[in-house]
Subunit: 474 residues, 2 copies
Amino acid sequence: MPDASLLNAIRAIVGDRGLLTAPSDTAAYVEDWRKLYRGQTAAVIRPGTTQELAAVVKLCAEAGTPVVPQGGNTSMVGGGIPAEDGSELVLSTSRMNRIRDVDPADMTLTLEAGVTLKAAQIAAAEAGCLLPLSISSEGTAQMGGILAVNAGGNNTVRYGNARDLVLGLEVVLPDGAIWNGLRRLRKDNTGYCLRQLFVGAEGTLGIITAAVLKLAPQPKEIAVALCGVPSVQAALALFTRFQGHDAASISAFELMSGLGMSFVLRHIPGATMPVETPSPFYVLVELATPRPNAGLRAMLEEILEAALTDGTVLDAAIAESDAQRAAIWKLREEHSEAQKREGASVKNDVSVPVSKVPAFIAQATAACEALIEGVRVVPFGHMGDGNIHFNLEQPVGSDAAWFLAQDHAIMDVVNEVVRAFDGSFSAEHGVGRLKPYMMPDWRGGVELALMQRIKSAIDPNGIMNPGKVLPAAE
Amino acid sequence: MPDASLLNAIRAIVGDRGLLTAPSDTAAYVEDWRKLYRGQTAAVIRPGTTQELAAVVKLCAEAGTPVVPQGGNTSMVGGGIPAEDGSELVLSTSRMNRIRDVDPADMTLTLEAGVTLKAAQIAAAEAGCLLPLSISSEGTAQMGGILAVNAGGNNTVRYGNARDLVLGLEVVLPDGAIWNGLRRLRKDNTGYCLRQLFVGAEGTLGIITAAVLKLAPQPKEIAVALCGVPSVQAALALFTRFQGHDAASISAFELMSGLGMSFVLRHIPGATMPVETPSPFYVLVELATPRPNAGLRAMLEEILEAALTDGTVLDAAIAESDAQRAAIWKLREEHSEAQKREGASVKNDVSVPVSKVPAFIAQATAACEALIEGVRVVPFGHMGDGNIHFNLEQPVGSDAAWFLAQDHAIMDVVNEVVRAFDGSFSAEHGVGRLKPYMMPDWRGGVELALMQRIKSAIDPNGIMNPGKVLPAAE
């Protein structure tokens, strides 16, 4: 347990406002927003600078006290929550929230870990650029955490994941040393690519304290359409057509099911359908480009007309205004909320190769329906990057608790199909505290052994975010 | 030294055609093409499959015999050459040259390490896709080596480096275990990002035996122009203009100097200048897009006309045919050859942030001219990604040997400027055997210590490509 002398030494570094110890002050930091976990901690430490944070980690390392890095505490998998036994200290980056530099010539943004994604987007926009990353929690999620989990989101189809935006990092290592890798080079072949090791390691190898991100030019034209399609296969055909035509303009390509859409229309006030023909599946396509006079709207019309003619698309509506664009996006964004209001649901954040999405959805649907009579399959998500939120809604009239008790059985049959397509059991949410038990089965053998060797090499005493990502060594 | 029993055991795995021992057969494998190094080896092993290669590595590991992985042997820094003492065996991937899969729906290409970049480009093109990587040695360089050194080239400005094209890898580890990480997922957050550790490690952590690469859609329209500009600053301004207009269409943005251009015109048969006004610097811009009817040519004209009007560009010529396009590219591609024919030269493969290229060239030029009276500065290269080949030509009438004897002094003053801009001493060529001595000075302290810890964790006995990338431990 962290003792008083350690906390006093930490207080001497971060000051009174940098150390929270009253349970009423620390409560918000020891529970995740999904309320999957409630941990305990003697203190939440909030350093103001990288130097303070490094000094704190050094003290903790010397005392053998584990630390749990935390950003906006928006993890879907409990990645920032300390253990229940009170042995770990929480290290919050929220006070380290300076934009250090925006360079529109270089197209780079240098910022500290505690900057929210929203604030980072705004800083980029004010410099006439685009930070091409967007996730639902962007108002709260902090860049340190976002990089630590390699967040994905809606724009991966065009810009990749958080990982793909990172040129440089500053990291505090488990012994308190600071690695300054804040280079902003597009080419640099001088040794191992350390930054990509820390991105996605979920704070188990060190704490990301600052980063240099690549920016993109701001779009000058955006076009959004909602399309009813007869099948997931048709959705894929439509995606391939857009990709062959102007891949660089596809900023989102999202799939929804007819059933999921009906939940949104039933439960979400103000949700309205811009197309008339009811369809088994729907696609939201967003095109965006920094080119002036690009004629995106005309291109969209041309592709959709051809698709309507040959039956790839059953019906389509193109947004005529910002308000209509927002209304179409609302249909997609309210999917989780609508499923919640419809009843109990079990979630799977999985991915397969893009070309396998139709077969995956067909087989996973059949498997779930065979497992639970009347279960309602509501897959939706990022078709353009193969990441499907394969969610299951309880059968009409069934008992919610009975349904939820079968969550592991459901996840197992879904994952069996995912595995057959060489997919991933965690596409964009990470492993955190929720899924390390799945690692031996999915990434076991040589791969997990490599990860464990790296963990031991960089954090030999295991003080960095213990119990996350990797299963406990046998 | 590898003994006969080891070689016999290896022969039992790879067969006679997989084992070269006669000096006449191994000669081509022990010298790099720049002729910087000539090593010695008891055998060159050429396995036909990943399983054979793994079995060989396992035997070598048990015997404590180091192995030197080698692809097309096109390294600029001696990365694939064994030591002079004959203690190391060369492991060539050249027989492992199958394209395993091309998937135009998924936009992925799965191939073995021994496939040349050219063959990979052709396989992608036959499936209607583009493998967006191009380097001078592409006819010979093999994909395993290309990924091991994270090759860059002309298209980094648009598509990133080799690293950015890798979705999955298969790697044989120093103990002979095979890591099958050949996933083709766009999103997969299940633990540490191992693939990016092997990419750029130059074979010091394991041998890349196969990879899944991302493809891009094939361009339907290409437009190339050569522009005379008054300064490097103007070249940067022109780049920024193209980037703000249609960043996704810039497939190359190359800088040349007036002096460098005069060498090409003097020494390269058939080289002709498409613009009349002599300029201090020149830019080659290539635009390409898969959009049909994109009007690239019109856009290029519009931007260049505005730039001619405001003096950013002094003169410009747009290629009217494939032949003219090739003629403009020839002016750029023959820069190295022309410099060689002009006399002795010293090369620096460096990078700085893109916005710093003008200041870097100005300061490095002044530093070199102060060091050697009459030295002729001929910088050229990938302005769009900040990678400049800052080359120096001997003063007119000077002694070549006298000039070359000052190569380290020249590199030192150039690197001092590079360092002031937080740049890189090896932008796209890697560290290899030539530059590990520079690592402590440039990447020393925390960063190099991290690399060494990772090396020890993955290759504890140091049998993988010893003496490359990392300096010998003290």
